[in-house]
């Protein structure tokens, strides 16, 4: 074994010690959508775009597992050298009390500490480690589903004293350090713009007047908003034939309207079926944006066509595949 091998990121040993867990910090990847047929929640990162960008920065596959921190970030101690990247909402990250930039690969040394300050913008930060978090997969995914008690670390959020295993990276520390995104490629969660959605299946089940109000007036995220769903407060939606339907499939992004007339947006940890009318579904490309909203913030809904939604999603997917090329090319070169 030469020094070169020793410099590789990750030795299949504990990389990170959790000193403080933060408000809710969980291991997440892209979830388990293929198990929806079995009534299993998809789970996974709320903001899958930021998760994938963080992974790309540290040389991981886009689908690798990372930490999702919510509003108040964790306090982590690194047990050896490695490379990390923080993306998503700005929870004010620092290493050894020095503020560090987000959307950038950063080298850490043994004994370094990562802490977070007050939330500046957004709601959820993603902390990716070169090599990826290596907890056991459950139903094809490392994502934590707290309600079901499985995935991640013992099916729960992090707690003080936890050790995180990180896999081996194909990259050397020095080849990752300093990687950053072009400013234009960093998603803008701060801008206040409308949330785009596709109408249906039940948008005709509301009185025209209340439907109009839904499209034109803002809704506020209530405190009853978490990884399962966001309860909104705003103009009352009036059902024409009542709120109940014969239960059927729901997915993250579904805007469901129960008898209260106040919409609920289903999020990553939602169940797979529901029995209330569905106004529409938020477009895939806007899910990262809505995932970064926090209680008290307002949203305005804007219906768009399916073609437009697909165009926006294609742009996002193309950006990810373009950026991830660096990992494919470089990894190959090192293999030679």
């Amino acid at each position: 074994m030469g020094a070169r091998t020793a410099k590789r990121v990750g030795f299949e040993m504990e990389f990170v010690k959790v000193m403080k867990p933060g408000l809710l910090t969980t291991v997440q990847d892209l979830g388990r959508p293929e198990y929806r047929t079995f009534g299993v929640s998809t789970s996974g990162a709320m903001d899958k775009l930021s998760l994938q960008l963080a992974n790309i920065l540290v040389g991981n596959r886009e689908s690798a597992a990372a930490l999702e921190a919510t509003l108040i970030g964790p306090h982590l101690l690194f047990q050896r050298e490695g490379v990390i990247a923080i993306t998503g909402g700005n929870l004010n990250p620092s290493i050894n009390n020095q503020s560090i930039p987000m959307w950038k690969a950063i080298r850490v040394e043994k004994g370094d500490t990562l802490t977070f300050g007050p939330c500046v913008d957004g709601c959820r930060a993603y902390i990716a480690f070169a090599g990826g978090i290596d907890t056991p997969k459950v139903m094809g995914s490392r994502s934590t589903y707290v309600r079901g008690n499985y995935g991640g670390i013992e099916g729960r959020g992090l707690k003080s004293g936890d050790d995180l295993q990180v896999g081996e990276s194909v990259f050397h520390v020095n080849s990752l350090n300093g990687r950053r995104l072009r400013p234009n490629d960093i998603p803008d969660f701060k801008s206040s713009r409308s949330v785009r959605f596709i109408l249906g299946p039940h948008h005709e089940e509301f009185t025209p007047k209340s439907f109009e109000a839904f499209l034109n007036e803002p809704y506020t995220l209530t405190n009853d908003s978490d990884r399962m769903g966001y309860r909104l407060q705003g103009p009352h939606l009036q059902h024409i034939n009542g709120p109940d339907i014969i239960s059927d499939f729901i997915s993250a992004g579904t805007i469901q309207v129960p008898g209260s007339g106040q919409p609920i947006i289903h999020m990553a940890d939602c169940g797979t079926s529901g029995g209330y009318t569905k106004m529409g579904v938020i477009i895939s490309a806007d899910m990262p944006y809505i995932a970064q909203k926090k209680p008290g913030e307002q949203i305005v809904f804007q219906p768009i066509t399916i073609e437009e939604a697909h165009r926006l999603l294609r742009n996002q997917e193309m950006l990810l595949s373009e950026l991830s090329l660096i990992n494919r090319i470089k990894a190959k070169r090192q293999a030679i």
């Binding site: 929806r36 239960s247 079926s273």
Partner: protein, 244 residues
Amino acid sequence: MESQTINISPTFTTMGDQAVVIQFEKNISIETNKKVQTLSRLIEESQIPGVIQLIPAFNNLTVCYDPMVIGYVELLEELKQIEGNISKQVPLNSKTLYVPVAFGGEYGPDLEEIANHAGVSVDEVLSILQSKPYYVYMIGFIAGYPYGGDIDPRLSLPRRTNPRIRVRKGTIQIVNNLTGIFTMDAPSGWHLVGWTPMEMFNPYAEPPSMLQAGDFIQYVAISKEEAELWGQEQQREWDLKWNS
């Protein structure tokens, strides 16, 4: 007189930018659900590139697709063509799962209310509940929850006005013409009749849920003591006797 079958074509609706819902008659019936199952099987067999997953519900089928692989218009054309062959007979695999249930007492606090409503004794409610297997219309909610039916109309009660905040995993419950088994602790507005020690959902098993849409559930009464002492050994014996 020959009975008339009115064949109404299903409707196709978008559900977001990665799913299409194929909606059949707006009722809960095994006949309608069999159409959902048949269509699901036919679409599965046709292996349309970009179709990722098929999720059957009571009276509709959700087709999840990857819009980077197949466009919406193109997908609709493919699906409509397959739907035209729905009268084709396809074999639908299904099994009957025998589920041990401790009825009543702390496990079934709503039994008496159901008996009063039906105008029969609690014992009669129990024998009605065990009188036939229930068809699993769909798997959903959270963690492989089976929606079974149809229960005897005498036992049909609407949802409770005050849902319980937390109902224990394993609880057998009924509402309207349906019955289900909780696979994890969750809130519930249904009526609780019993509890099973049988593991219906195991995230570490493949597949994770014991039941699939189209299967049948048959409840079999066991005593409270049996339920409390249930372990792997008892489950093995049970499966040998009933589920093999």
